[in-house]
Subunit: 228 residues, 2 copies
DNA sequence: GGGTCACGGGTACTGCGTACCATGACGGCA
DNA sequence: TGCCGTCATGGTACGCAGTACCCGTGACCC
């Protein structure tokens, strides 16, 4: 084995361990130490393979952003939701080549050539699920001291990340209905990015009389939410 | 003195100490301990006044996000590109006004007299990538019945991104006049949220005879739009 | 055999953010 | 006047991300 192959193996083991733990405990509850321990390597090795914990989910981030932006730039003004969803899907697929390892890439290419049409149909509806992912991600993180880069790039990278994770699980060829597998993977993504603690804080803007009426509804909902 | 006033005073002292230290050492080199010490309060008090170190320069974050959402919710589903773009621009300016008021106050009090590390190149490139992504997200959702919540989510991400970018650029000011650097950063953000150029692409559905009649009208309007 | 080099491991450190507990000031109350 | 609840504050300890530095190991070359 050459050195580069050995390093790739270590990196792959870290990725597998990380995603396993993300599935089990969620992203925030997964520590770097746990990832390194499960991968059977030291903590230092982890930070040599990845610049940060986020880097496991968002490798080579800048290149990804550039490619996504270039693909989206090709969408003409006034295009409908389907065109945008297709572009997002294609952009995500575009970066899969950058994300997946050699072995996964071969499998991905093989499967995508046969299943991309149906996948795209699925994506058009699935984009709304991704929006939920983003919403949940933001709810738990915006303004809570997360680094600015994470906040800034969630929108652009979130779709790629979710897509990546979904396809990564999907391409593992789970037996059974692939659509059901995709749904399970999506559920895993939602759980992975769920906020650590549900917020009991509600922000209400009062500018019009209707806002006051809405406030009463908010009060009721909060009150009921606080009931055991 | 009431308690709320005393707490406000503490908060103000913390803000003053923080910007003092940001001025002297830069944002990253300023620790929370140093801010608390200079303000003459304990570390715990700092985290009671601000949820995080970022919160010192990103105050009232949730409220601002709510205002953005409220503004965008006022746009009816199916509104045209101009209405959405206008709402987005107004919401962006609303947020920027809020934050830049804080910034102006601090800027008036504390001059950035020291040169701190210059803006990293990847941040400059990143802003352009965000610009494309956000614009495309908006463009794809215009008129397709998406809820205002989705638009709010997207623009909130953009606003947070943009504002954070401005502040980072400011706090890590480039060599030269910090005020001019801030103005340039602001100009970038405002340009980022400027309404996109009017589309020259029209999607026409032909299902009834009336549609054909409409096509002629479309042709005329496009033709006139193409006139200089 | 010895030197080099890439890689992994270990250790200690800084800093952010949280949890928990003690304290002292303030105000109500008997 | 003295007791007591409340609350802002401060101190301490902890967890975790990320960095710096040093050391061990094994492959490779001269």
């Amino acid at each position: 084995m050459t050195q580069s192959t050995a390093r790739e193996s270590t990196r792959e083991r870290l990725v597998a361990a990380a995603y396993d733990l993300f599935d089990e405990r969620g992203y925030d509850a997964t520590t770097v130490d746990a990832v390194a321990e499960r991968a059977g390597v030291g903590r230092t090795t982890f930070f040599r393979a990845f610049r940060s914990k986020d880097d496991v989910v968002l490798p080579d981030h800048d290149a990804v952003l550039a490619r996504v932006g270039a693909r989206l730039d090709a969408v003409p003004s006034g295009a409908g939701a389907t065109a945008v969803a297709t572009a997002a899907s294609e952009a995500a697929h575009l970066v899969l080549d950058h994300y997946l390892t050699e072995g996964d890439r071969a499998r991905a290419r093989y499967r995508l050539t046969r299943t991309v049409p149906s996948l795209r149909q699925r994506e058009v509806a699935g984009l709304q699920a991704y929006q939920r992912v983003f919403r949940e991600f933001f709810r738990g993180r915006v303004g809570d001291g997360e680094s600015g880069e994470v906040r800034a790039e969630v929108l652009a990278a979130g779709v790629v990340t979710a897509h990546n994770h979904v396809l990564r699980r999907w391409l593992r060829a789970e037996p059974g209905d692939p659509v059901a597998a995709l749904d399970r993977a999506l559920a895993d993504v939602l759980r992975m990015f769920a906020p650590p603690r549900p917020s009991r804080t509600r922000v209400v803007v009062l500018e019009t009389p209707d806002d006051v009426d809405d406030l009463e509804e908010v009060v009721r909902s909060v009150r009921s939410a606080l009931e055991p």
